[in-house]
Symmetry: C2
DNA sequence: AGAAAGATAGACCGATCTGTTTACCTTTGT
DNA sequence: ACAAAGGTAAACAGATCGGTCTATCTTTCT
């Protein structure tokens, strides 16, 4: 149906991720999407709404990929807890990698009440919930605590990979994760 | 001597940190600094140069505070490795806390070759070097590896504290850190 | 066939952006 | 006392910002 809307969001996904939200004008988005400005503003009331729609799409794509890849790499819950770090390691090595779009959003929209910032917080929680589910299946003593720990290691690795360009961060984080996983099993 | 320059950088430190780099215009900086636009451009050739000078100042202030506070809180190297997390916990609880200015800079200046991004990477390395020094004094088996691990936990905690508003992140990271510290001693 | 819906390119709006310039004022060293 | 240095406020330049609007074209439903 609304393929124009998808074109716009797909263009926004690329541009906002690579260049940032404030640095990307709507003119750049419509040029990348090959769409007129009127069309963009027919689908989104403001740029802020486009940003929110783009972040929602990113959340969906990112978590779907995280789940699919992690479950493809490992078949047991315990192995999947480790495989999470292999999946993010693959992500770090993509040529388009520019950090976590939600960390980036929180950086630009620093106010915690900002809708984009809240969406970022929600995304992180959903990822954490997913990990908690695996930790439960794996029989962790305290799945919530283990998910928190693994997620914190993931965030640390993302920062290392983006800020310092450390493509090995996922492997190092994985080794640390093994320690915390084995303490719970 | 150059007190005007300091006024400008101090104003820029507040505004760039709270509102972001692209979202803060030079007009806002000169208003906050109570200085004319001419004066700003006498001291800095471009806004980008002001950003770089501001990041350099932030690096100096941040690391000095990290060292001073951590050394004040604990007198032995081993205790200091833990105290690092208390220091960042205090930071998280400041009302002006808006995440790590260098993570924020890397988010807005995503290109790794961007001078601001490179300064961010350098800052992270200097913090890691400081921790490595303590790890050495503490007699860690592999000080470089331990510093890497603790720094990764710190980055994870910063993300949690900023994106999710989790003021407890430093304590949780500290508990994780204890595990990795004790494995090396 | 013909009306309604939705697309197009692009002119246009007022505001804001970085950066320059003008004209004047204040401080300071000799 | 006086020139030089460095400060001020504000006008200005040209580009870009988010957002609106017009006039035209294409598609689709009945």
């Amino acid at each position: 149906m609304s393929t124009k809307r998808e074109q716009i969001v797909n263009a926004a996904l690329r541009l906002f991720y690579q260049r940032g939200f404030n640095a990307t004008g709507v003119d750049a988005v419509i040029a990348e999407a090959r769409v007129s400005k009127k069309t963009l503003y027919n689908h989104f009331r403001t740029k802020d709404e486009l940003i929110l729609a783009t972040l929602r799409k990113r959340d969906e794509l990112f978590r779907n990929n995280l789940m699919r890849e992690t479950e493809r790499k490992a078949s047991t819950p315990i192995a999947r807890l480790s495989a999470l770090f292999d999946t993010i390691g693959d992500w770090f090595r993509e040529k388009s990698f520019s950090g976590c779009m939600f960390i980036n959003a929180a950086a630009e929209f620093s106010d915690h009440d900002n809708p984009s910032h809240q969406l970022a917080a929600q995304h992180k929680k959903l990822v954490c919930d997913y990990i908690e589910g695996i930790a439960e299946e794996a029989g962790a003593a305290d799945p919530k605590a283990l998910a928190y720990e693994l997620n914190l290691l993931i965030e640390g690795a993302i920062v290392y990979a983006h800020v310092m360009g450390d493509k090995d961060a996922a492997r190092r984080a994985k080794e640390m994760a093994q320690v915390h996983i084995s303490r719970q099993l």
